[in-house]
């Protein structure tokens, strides 16, 4: 069981009387891209917050590289090798793109030269090498989304959590983002993605976990999911707007 890079078992999170995540289990293996989908309010972002340590679970086990990380703080989980990006980009506005990424790189390196070098490499991996000296607040949304991934990469994660990286982007930018994420995966990065844009999910993920009202209703390859009747009822079939 601990062969999985990440194994989530019977994860539950309650907010007062509301059960946002109810007894959900899934796993991610090394080298995979796993998608988490579901209608609004299905519990996707809550699961992200639980896995990344922004929230503590009410019940359940989150095993990462054989260790239970449930309830650890976000910075502790980051050091263990899981880093998340935010759905709404969270740059450090008053410092440069390079310095933004350096904050992540300081998790792995102590000396300033090593940190600057690692940060510059991370920026180049996300196609932002030429923006190193630009302040966070002067970047466009697409650049901020790239920076968001660059910051996360600088922490040298073994598992990268991407929260709606396509939200707010134009179709052309979404294609660029898809290319970037595919390339990260080709370089060996394991990814867990939450996404609303079905084109991204269907093109990117090896496996998909489908949530509805906090519970898992299906799991499988994109092809299986697109044929699954429960999923079609809950989500895919009904709403045109999700099929971007």
């Amino acid at each position: 069981m601990s062969a999985h890079l990440l194994a989530v078992e019977n994860l539950t999170r309650r907010f007062g009387g509301l059960t946002a995540v109810n007894d959900v289990s899934f796993h991610v293996d090394r080298g995979e891209v796993v998608g988490l989908i579901g209608p609004n309010g299905a519990g996707k972002t809550t699961i992200f917050n639980l896995v990344s340590g922004a929230l503590a679970p009410s019940a359940g086990v989150i095993t990462f590289k054989g260790e239970n990380i449930a309830g650890l703080k976000a910075h502790q989980i980051c050091k263990r090798g899981i880093t998340r990006t935010f759905q709404v980009v969270q740059p450090f506005p008053d410092i440069t793109a390079l310095e933004n990424v350096m904050i992540g790189a300081y998790v792995r390196h102590g000396s300033r030269t090593a940190v600057e070098k690692a940060a510059q490499q991370a920026l180049e991996r996300v196609g932002m090498g030429h923006k190193a000296g630009v302040l966070g607040k002067d970047l466009t949304l697409m650049e901020l989304k790239r920076l968001e991934i660059g910051k996360a990469l600088a922490t040298e994660p073994e598992l990268l959590l991407l929260d709606e990286m396509a939200a707010g982007l134009t179709p052309v930018e979404i294609d660029d983002m898809l290319t970037l994420v595919r390339q990260l995966n080709a370089e060996g990065m394991t990814l867990l993605v939450v996404e609303h844009v079905m084109k991204v999910i269907m093109n990117l993920c090896h496996r998909i976990t489908v949530l509805n009202f906090g519970a898992k209703i299906a799991e499988g390859t994109p092809a299986e999911i697109s044929r699954n009747q429960a999923v079609l009822d809950a989500y895919l079939g009904g709403e045109e707007e999700y099929v971007a």
Partner: protein, 344 residues
């Protein structure tokens, strides 16, 4: 620009300031001592308030710990003030860590943190005013036991001047050093975006506690200097909210979160306030406080990034080409901006 030049500039500037006793009258030397003392205290505040963005309105507490501990130890145990300086820094550091832990662990931030810190230092006024060993409301005097560097008492102002000159220089060098280190970047990350900082492996709670402790310890050193120089301390002269506000005023007016902001702010403001006090002190007492308020309002309205912030944007406007020509030079980005943030 290489790193050592960032340290050379302050050393040269302060060395030049060190020539002043030869040319200044005693009165003006006193003004420069005040400038350096407030620059030092405000630099200490700036580590927590400017770099880490946690605006304490209660740093008089830590200054007061240093001042009172030094005066009490001198009176009761005839302890050397240098030892008191270290003890005061340690005690204030502990107090700072405790205040930081108590507030930040329960998620208090922003205006609420400011309010809690006001409350704590105001409470200290009343505690000390009723504490017999600390002289209650009438305060404590430091006994004169002889002069010299080892006793931290001098028969001329020049002696005090050189002590505070070195302290202020060390504060600038420390800020400069921090702004290029992991801890400095973590302070900035906490100020800019705590959620993002936490997600990138920054222990934001620990970072804020450490910043409060360091800032508090340095303020206590300033308190020791204060009581050695004025030889007298009473509750309101250190713990009062006027002092706490004065400590942060110079950073805000000079430039929050910049290395030179507190220095520039004190250099501009202290002489103005002292001139007003000297000229109108008899007829309109308290006008200097009014002037502080008026300048603060004007700075907030017209240059919210402070004097150093304005100077930096002017510098950018005058020399835009430099940044335009080599925007992508790979490792130039961080070094340049770190220097600009600190050096301009």
């Amino acid at each position: 620009m290489s790193a050592w030049r960032e340290y050379l500039v302050p050393v040269v500037v302060f060395a030049l300031v060190g020539l002043l006793p030869a040319v200044l009258s005693q009165y003006w030397l006193h003004i420069v001592i005040l400038i350096l003392m407030w620059a030092f205290l405000s630099s200490a505040w700036n580590i927590l308030g400017g770099f880490a963005g946690q605006h304490s309105l209660g740093h008089g507490l830590f200054m007061g710990i240093g001042a009172y501990l030094t005066a009490y130890m001198a009176n009761t145990f005839a302890l050397n003030p240098w030892i008191s300086l270290v003890l005061g820094a340690l005690l204030a550091g502990l107090a700072g860590a405790f205040v930081g832990y108590a507030t930040f662990r329960s998620g208090i931030k922003g205006a609420y943190f400011a309010l809690v810190t006001i409350a704590i230092t105001e409470a200290a006024v009343y505690v000390v005013s009723n504490w017999r060993a600390l002289g209650q409301a009438s305060g404590l005097s430091v006994p004169l036991v002889g002069t010299g560097l080892s006793r931290l008492q001098f028969d001329s102002k020049a002696g005090f001047f050189y002590i505070i000159l070195v302290l202020a220089l060390l504060a600038v060098l420390l800020s400069q050093w921090l702004s290029r280190r992991r801890f400095g970047y973590r302070l900035i990350a906490v100020r800019e975006n705590e959620d993002a900082a936490e997600a990138l492996g920054v222990d934001t709670l620990m970072t804020k506690i450490q910043a409060t402790a360091l800032s508090a310890a340095l303020c206590a050193v300033g308190g020791t200097f204060y009581v050695q120089y004025f030889t007298y301390v009473e509750p309101r002269s250190v713990f009062g909210e006027t002092i706490s506000i004065q400590i942060l005023l110079y950073s805000i007016i000079g430039g929050l979160g910049t290395v030179w902001g507190p220095i520039v702010g004190a250099a501009v403001l202290v002489p103005i306030a002292e001139w007003v006090r000297g000229t109108f002190g008899q007829t309109l007492s308290g006008l200097n406080v009014f002037v502080y308020g008026a300048i603060l309002v004007l700075v907030m309205l017209f240059m919210p990034r402070g004097i150093v912030g304005v100077a930096r944007s002017l510098q950018r406007r005058i020399r835009p080409r430099r940044e335009g020509v080599e925007p992508a030079a790979s490792s130039a980005g961080a070094g340049d901006t770190a220097r600009e943030r600190g050096g301009a």
